[in-house]
């Protein structure tokens, strides 16, 4: 099997035991779970900052830690990049020197990423000579990302990179992460406690609860699982999409944006046309209709197809497809009335005011 990270480890603290046995595929994998579930401990063990009690950690065939073989590589020899929850930029160095710190320590033959490429990708140009203390949260996050990536890691660990950020810039960082993954193809392990982020970003998700491994699955599938589903706190499921601005209609108070071939009406935003923006629509704000409504105040009526009906929990999650997978949350009563089935046509109805901007 083509797994990038092979984890089999146990680590105990008083009153807590972390136990994980998972092979994570290439791409972006998420570690998901409520606070105190052992996510950061797992990352620290992979980075070599914490030592497991027993087990084995392998990265692309190389053993980073093995209890039985007596291997425990020092953090600096693991080639694992780490973006910490609170960034931990070096306060005595400029942005530029922070980014070059790991780059300079990487042998030339190992360098796969040029700092200049990162500066462009993360739009850090104007910040390079600044001190880190004057940067905003989002700027610090980008510098921390660039600093970790400049060392050309074989794996990038991200510990809740969006948790400390204001909601309004979450989308931008998500877009940067996607761009990094696309352009540099560095595998990532991404810790989050937001299922919506995980769905928007990750290909697979490892679910932890109080140190116990609950599930390793495709993020969307987790929502419907009776074991992992309750941990994902359904009431906060959002659909997160990247769209690009087409046109502003000031007289109507809306902005038109493209999601693939589909046009969405958003509340008016202050973003130039052609620019990408990230939007969020709560699953509970996506209204479903089995027939196309004729006169209705909602600005977005979109035809989609039902992929799956998840009826495991108290509310029903309808997974539909239109350019991207969508999730709508409805009541069991509504499901019975509308007679929604997999493969059938459905209309997604979204008021433009329930679309919020994440930039």
């Amino acid at each position: 099997m083509d797994s990038v990270i092979s984890l089999n480890l146990r680590k105990s603290f008083p009153g807590f035991q972390l136990s994980v046995n998972a092979d994570l595929p290439a791409g972006i994998a998420a570690v998901f779970g409520p606070s105190g579930s052992g996510k950061t401990t797992l990352l620290n063990c992979i980075a070599g900052l914490d030592r497991p009690d027993e087990g084995e950690i392998r990265l692309q065939g190389q053993t980073l830690y093995s209890n039985s073989a007596g291997i425990n590589l020092a953090p600096e020899r693991r080639r694992v990049g780490y973006v910490f929850q609170d960034n931990l930029l070096f306060p005595h160095l400029s942005v530029q020197k922070n980014i070059h710190y790991g780059y300079k320590l990487t042998s030339e033959s190992r360098r796969r990423v040029a700092p200049g490429q990162l500066v462009d990708l993360l739009e850090l140009g104007p910040l390079m000579q600044r001190r880190t203390s004057g940067l905003s949260g989002g700027e610090q996050q980008r510098v921390a990302l660039a600093r970790a990536l400049a060392a050309s890691p074989d794996l990038l660990l991200l510990d809740e990179p969006l948790a400390s950020l204001h909601l309004s810039i979450r989308g931008r960082i998500l877009r940067y992460l996607k761009a990094i993954h696309r352009e540099l193809s560095i595998p990532m392990l991404y810790v989050s406690h937001s299922i919506s982020e995980v769905i928007a970003l990750a290909d697979s998700a490892l679910v932890l609860d109080r140190g116990r491994q609950v599930a390793l699955d495709e993020p969307r599938t987790l929502l419907g699982r009776s074991d992992a589903g309750p941990l994902t706190s359904r009431d906060s499921v959002e659909n997160i999409f990247d769209v690009s601005v087409i046109e502003h209609l000031p007289e109507s108070g809306i902005t038109l944006a493209a999601l693939g071939e589909t046009t969405l009406a958003l509340p008016q935003v202050d973003v130039p046309t052609g620019q990408p923006v990230s939007i969020s629509i709560r699953a509970s704000d996506v209204i479903l209709a089995s027939e196309k409504p004729n006169s209705i105040s909602a600005r977005n009526i979109l035809e989609a197809r039902i992929d799956r009906v998840d009826a495991a929990g108290r509310s029903i999650l309808i997974h539909a497809h239109l350019e991207q997978p969508w999730i709508s949350e409805i009541t069991p009563d509504a499901l019975a009335n509308l007679n929604l089935r997999e493969g059938e046509r459905v209309y997604l109805i979204i008021k433009s005011s329930s679309i919020s901007l994440l930039d």
């Binding site: 980075a47 070599g48 900052l49 020092a74 953090p75 600096e76 693991r78 080639r79 694992v80 990049g81 780490y82 910490f84 931990l88 070096f90 306060p91 005595h92 160095l93 400029s94 530029q96 020197k97 710190y101 790991g102 320590l105 990487t106 000579q129 001190r131 600093r147 970790a148 060392a151």
Partner: protein, 231 residues
Amino acid sequence: MLSSAELHALRLSLQAASLGVLLGFPVAFAIAWALVKTEMRGKLALEILVSFPLALPPVITGYALLLLLSREGVVGRFLNWAFGIDLLFTWIAAALAAGLVSLPLMVRAMEVALAGVDPRLEKAARSLGAGPIRSLLTVTLPLAYRGMAAAALLGFARGLGEFGATIVVAGNVPGLTQTLPLAIFTDLQAGDDSAALRLVAISVILAAISLTIHHVLIHRRGSLRRQWTPS
């Protein structure tokens, strides 16, 4: 204004305190680093041992040093055997005495400075490919720089005032091992109050200068920090 013997006492005091700090600094740093940044056993014992010169009368510290440096002592015998030298009753012995009594102060100041550096920054450096030594040199020390300098200043100030241990190991030979405090003591013994007061004034000025620099290092973060960031 000052007699040549007095000038000599001043120079000797500065020399002894400086060399004391120079010798004590790496030792103090190693001890502070071990206490703050490692998981080693016996930290309490080390902390207490290194603090003895703070709590004991300096004359006892001096006596311990005398036993070590004498011909019968471990260090003294070695130095005599290896280099044919005897440090007792030289200004170097005075420097060692100054270094030893200021060691606990330097260790304490360094502990504070090192503890002030977020250990996670060092971990970040490690994850970026820096080994422990590089992480120490490029992250810990630059961030603890002011505290380290303040520790040296504190040690210097303490070394200038050293009396009890110095008189035991270096004696009180004018022009040879007589430091400022010893010279003041001698003047007082001789009833020469005006000579004593001149030296007191010099001591007060020296103390004021080093304590002022110490204060600046500890409190005026911004002014010094600005020098490290590129313009």
